[in-house]
């Protein structure tokens, strides 16, 4: 399968600490890849490197054959930051239209993106007055409005009710079916089962890279949480 994102020997320092230590992975085109790991393991840092806003100490990140962050990629990438990044003092619609305009798109595209995250009904509201879940969906609308080929989603479903979460996943699935490559981070194992592939990350190391089924089979359990735990124990034993 064709590779959309390739990370090679990536080393990143944040503050005085090394956060990623020679991280390598390859993410296939047109798939949903889950980035799974505990808080502080380096998920956001890796995603920032993929979208090209993270200073990198060494190593390489290639997206669609171009170095991450290069100008041609900026039309092809969508990034949902972990904390919603939308303008509080604009309405939902004004936010979506502004981000649409950056890709040369029109008001109708903005409406479609709002519809896609179930926010059409709140389009006229100021983002500053929305609930937490609505705010993060407004932010999501702005990430998908440019119809990106590569979509990087940092914990997109946190704070959403289960029905909405299900709808959002159906939406991601549809985007991938249309050819988008999606990298989505989560620390909710239940969501991991919906991904085509999983990257398990712990303390800035890649400890697993396979389909959810294969990861569960290798670990000998039906539960992803338990599988993660077993993989960590195995590796600790191997290291000792």
């Amino acid at each position: 399968m064709e590779t959309a994102i390739e990370v090679t020997d990536l080393v990143i320092n944040r503050g005085k600490r090394e956060v990623l230590h020679g991280f390598s992975c390859a993410i296939p085109r047109g798939s949903i890849t889950g980035l799974l790991g505990p808080s502080g393991s380096g998920k956001t840092t890796l995603m920032r490197a993929v979208v090209g806003v993270q200073l990198v100490a060494s190593g390489r990140v290639t997206v669609l054959g171009e170095p991450a962050g290069s100008p041609p990629l900026r039309r092809k990438i969508g990034y949902l930051t972990q904390a919603p990044s939308v303008y509080d003092d604009l309405t939902v619609r004004e936010n979506a239209r502004y981000f649409a305009s950056l890709y040369g798109l029109r008001a109708a595209d903005a409406e479609a993106a709002l519809d896609g995250v179930g926010l059409s009904g709140a389009a006229h509201q100021l983002v500053g007055n929305l609930s937490g879940g609505q705010r993060s969906r407004a932010s999501l609308a702005c990430a998908i409005v440019g119809r990106p080929e590569v979509l990087v989603l940092d914990e997109p479903t946190v704070g959403q009710d289960p029905v909405l979460r299900d709808e959002l996943w159906a939406r991601f699935r549809g985007l991938a079916a249309d050819g988008a490559t999606i990298l989505v981070s989560s620390h909710v194992m239940d969501e991991a089962n919906r991904c085509d592939r999983l990257l398990l990350i712990r303390d800035g190391h890649l400890i697993g890279d396979d389909t959810p089924a294969a990861i569960k089979a290798t670990a000998g359990t039906d539960d992803l949480d338990e599988a993660f735990l077993r993989i960590i124990r195995q590796q600790e034993k191997a290291a000792a």
Binding site: G52, V53, R75, Y79, Y98
Partner: protein, 245 residues
């Protein structure tokens, strides 16, 4: 930089301001109240009011736009919108010019309203024409925007950002020649005054006050202010980093 992205960024910034009634009040109404205050302070002392009100028409836009811009840009940095914008086709210059032009337009409205009040209600008397006063006021506003963009890079919170106001604005106001004529200051104070851009805009306004036609000094001063704007914007551009740690 792309004309299309620049235009929608200007629109976005103006829209943000429009949703913020209180800030609009600050921008438009406060200068009017302060001018009214000056008018009654210098009740019956025409020439004195003329001199001070004229200079204030340049200083208000500078202070207000500096304050608004440094907070707006700081929010852009801390809310994550700047980081996200840098993953889109937006260029640094789209942002810098977007802020400069958007707030410059607002400043033009502000300056027109304030100067209108001063001329027609308070009988402000200047030898030169009203439109030159407005042009200089707008240049001052854009100078405030450019310095605000630059200073926001050195603040981490809004609380820190407002603290740049006294540091950047007050020395310029004290040394611009309003309180003590620049050529009667001590030599070292003159040197400081000479490198502060507000000194030149105040001198330009004073020229408009004293001469019927635009003078060479006025054009030179305006040129220096424009140069300071460009310098501050370029320095501001170096503080905008696509990649951060």
């Amino acid at each position: 930089m792309s004309p299309h992205i620049l235009a929608s960024t200007i629109g976005r910034i103006v829209r943000q301001l429009r949703h913020d009634r209180r800030t609009i009040g600050l921008v438009i109404v406060v200068p009017l109240l302060l001018l009214t205050l000056l008018y009654f302070m210098f009740d019956g002392q025409g020439p004195m009011f003329d001199r001070i009100a004229l200079v204030m028409l340049g200083i208000f836009p500078f202070i207000i736009m500096f304050l608004i811009t440094s907070i707006a840009m700081l929010r852009e940095r801390t809310s994550g919108t700047l980081e996200r914008l840098f993953t889109t086709p937006v260029g640094k210059l789209d942002l810098l010019f977007g802020y400069g032009i958007a707030f410059g337009l607002v400043a033009a409205v502000q300056a027109t309203v304030a100067a209108g009040l001063a001329y027609w209600l308070f009988d402000l008397d200047t030898a030169g024409s009203l439109w030159l006063v407005i042009v200089i006021a707008v240049a001052n506003a854009v100078l405030g925007v450019a310095l605000g963009l630059l200073c926001s890079a050195f603040a981490r919170t809004e609380f820190q950002a407002v603290q740049f106001m006294p540091v950047v604005a007050i020395p310029q106001i004290l040394l611009c020649g309003l309180f003590v004529a620049r050529d009667s200051m001590a030599g070292w104070l003159q040197v400081i005054s000479d490198v502060l851009p507000l000194s030149y805009s105040v001198e330009a306004l004073t020229e408009v006050g004293a001469h019927a036609d635009p003078t060479g000094t006025m054009w030179r001063d305006l040129g220096i202010v424009v140069g300071a704007i460009i310098l501050a914007l370029l320095l501001g551009a170096t503080t905008l980093r696509r990649r951060t740690a």
